[in-house]
């Protein structure tokens, strides 16, 4: 029977094309919207996760206590073995080490003496072995002049600083501060480029070097201020990280040792708990309204589809077909249209979401001269939900609408039908 109906649908464009188009567009919008909403909230969270919190973050207990002072003397040690332990225990996460540091940026004159000095806001991240790290910190699109360091001994510095003190790409600069052990740190880097993040604090004196260079400078071999974990699927999943946190902390954290590592979820940091709760509830509400609205629209489409073929049903009744038989075929047709539309719509929605996930929508012009670290390019995000959410309004509502419209058939008097056929 399906085959028969399908044939009918294919041959009679009028009874199939428009409903399919409408269902497709509706499902497309639903899927796309869902991807967009997930993406926008994810973007907000990602900025935090990427720059500071990770999906999870490991520090020593005492480092965590004084995190805002960047106490590298309290940094994690034995990082290599910890990292390999993490990788084997929790392969679903990507683990990266980072070092934050303070100190002075010192620009030499020809004699090698201080020409200009400024406060450094330093970061050592894995630039060479892990291309994702630069991306996470939004470095590629923040580079103003020059390029990202490609070999050891190169550094990116704040564009504002470079402008202010007339420092050019290719110049040398020395980082002065203290090592993990409190010894003096002197390290000279070649400036490979300048960056501007649009965040006032960072733009005063950002210095970005490869983590191995930072380790070398700060005598932090096999050490790191923090280890961040990112879910390989890309999305912060509270349940997943809660399990990891639980298991890690029970295995590694020693309440008597202030230098033992402790893991925090993104949720546990910087008031993000509240933000997450808020965004979850808003996104849930929006999705609810959306699916509801879409369902109503497709219900209406079902109704319309039934009405459109009023005459046809009249003829079929006149030919002696059972009302229940007609009703059944109507429902099957609706189901087919719904499914076809949902598949097309989901495919379209996914591609649109994919496009916006890849390229994003740039609101940068609107937010030029931003002084805060905020996402300027909004992206959609393809979560597993997108694959099924469109079918709810697309198929279910379509069938429901048709079912309701179909009641009209039962109400019709055969006599009236013939009257309509007089045309």
């Amino acid at each position: 029977m399906f085959k028969f109906i399908l044939k009918g649908l294919l041959r009679d464009k009028r009874r199939s094309l428009l409903p399919v188009i409408v269902v497709s567009i509706g499902v497309f919008l639903t899927v796309f919207m869902s991807g967009w909403l997930t993406g926008v909230f994810k973007d907000m969270i990602d900025v935090n996760a990427n720059f500071t919190t990770g999906h999870v973050k490991i520090m020593t207990r005492s480092y965590a206590e004084n995190e805002n002072q960047i106490p590298n003397d309290l940094a994690l040690t034995g990082v290599d073995s910890l990292m390999s332990e993490l990788n084997s225990r929790y392969p679903e996460m990507e683990w990266v080490a980072r070092i934050h540091f303070g100190g002075l940026i010192d620009i030499p004159d020809e004699q090698g003496e201080t020409r200009a000095q400024g406060q450094a806001v330093g970061m050592g991240i894995d630039l060479f072995d892990n291309s994702l790290e630069a991306e996470r910190m939004n470095i590629p699109s923040s580079v103003v002049k020059g390029r990202i360091p490609s070999i050891s001994g190169e550094a990116l510095i704040s564009d504002d600083f470079a402008e202010k003190f007339n420092v050019a790409v290719g110049d040398e600069m020395t980082l002065f501060g203290s090592t993990m052990n409190g010894a003096m740190m002197f390290q000279t880097y070649t400036i490979s480029g300048t960056v501007r993040f649009g965040a006032a604090m960072l733009d005063r004196g950002a210095v970005i070097v490869d983590i191995e260079d930072a380790r070398e400078a700060m005598d932090m071999q096999d050490a790191a201020g923090e280890i961040l974990g990112y879910s390989k699927e890309g999305l912060y999943d509270d349940e997943q990280v809660s399990v990891i946190k639980e298991s890690f902390n029970s295995a590694f954290t020693n309440p008597d040792d202030e230098f033992s590592p402790v893991m925090l979820r993104l949720r546990d940091q910087q008031g993000l708990d509240e933000y997450l709760a808020l965004s979850e509830s808003i996104s849930f509400m929006m999705m609810l309204i959306f699916v509801l609205a879409m369902s109503i629209v497709l219900w209406n489409t079902g109704l319309l589809g039934g009405l459109r073929r009023y005459t046809e049903y009249g003829i079929r009744l006149a030919l002696g077909e059972e009302k229940s038989q007609i009703y059944k075929t109507m429902l099957y047709e609706a189901l087919l249209i719904g499914l076809i539309g949902s598949v097309i719509g989901t495919a379209l929605g996914l591609s649109a979401a994919w496009y916006l996930q890849t390229y994003g929508l740039d609101f940068g012009d609107m937010m030029a001269n931003s002084t805060m670290m905020m996402p300027q390019v909004f992206r959609a995000y393809i979560s597993p939900r997108l694959f099924y959410i469109g079918f709810i309004p697309g198929t279910f509502a379509m069938v429901l609408g048709t079912a309701l419209a179909g009641f009209a058939i039962y109400k019709r008097k055969t006599a009236k039908l013939f009257k309509e056929l007089e045309v």
């Binding site: 201080t114 000095q117 003096m184 000279t188």
Partner: protein
Amino acid sequence: MKTIITIIALLVGLTGNAQDAKTILQKVDDNMSSKNRVFESTMVIHGKRNSRTITSRSYSEGEKQSFTEYLSPAREQGTKMLKVNDQLWIYSPSTDRTIQISGHMLRQSVMGSDLSYEDMMEDRKLTEVYEPKVTGEETIEGRKAYVLELTALVSDLAYHKRKMWIDTERFVPVKEELYAKSGQLLKQTTLSDVQQIQGRWFPTSIVFKDMLKDGKGTEFKMTNIKFNQDIPAYIFTKAALKK
């Protein structure tokens, strides 16, 4: 017997009090300062996790000029620090750079110790900037000592008030406390291993402790102390940093 000792002690105490606080301080100054001095030192810094030992050789001329070269550990070896009047430069051989330390950086701790660069920069004689007063006498580590209270005469000092315990015989400080304007104790210095070098008594071991911070403080031991040497003038120039 006991009473006699008490009486003597009291008499000494009285004479101590009678002795002008300025004179005492002057004697300390005379004893401690020389035209110049050269010494090697070992600094033990107790960090939260580990302790580090840093050795260095220092030359100083009067109070205004000093030059220090770090000898060990390897990471620090060859690092030099030059202070001339109110300027401070640090040279690192690994980067061949001379960096001038100024402004708020001077307030940072030197190599994680309980001393700041600024603490090392203070180059005025105590008698010039403080008004001393003898407030009593105490016995510290078996040595009798005058207790001097020093109050700032000028406003631009890090410590408004100091309390010093001066050995009554040797005229070397054995203990010092540094106070905030409000009277809050901030830092404490304990001096020991007093040795006679070239005819003068000199404390060769010093422990600095920031009283507001947890920790064991910073130990500073001097060896090979020599006074009034022939130090070539170029030592106190920036050119010497790169040598």
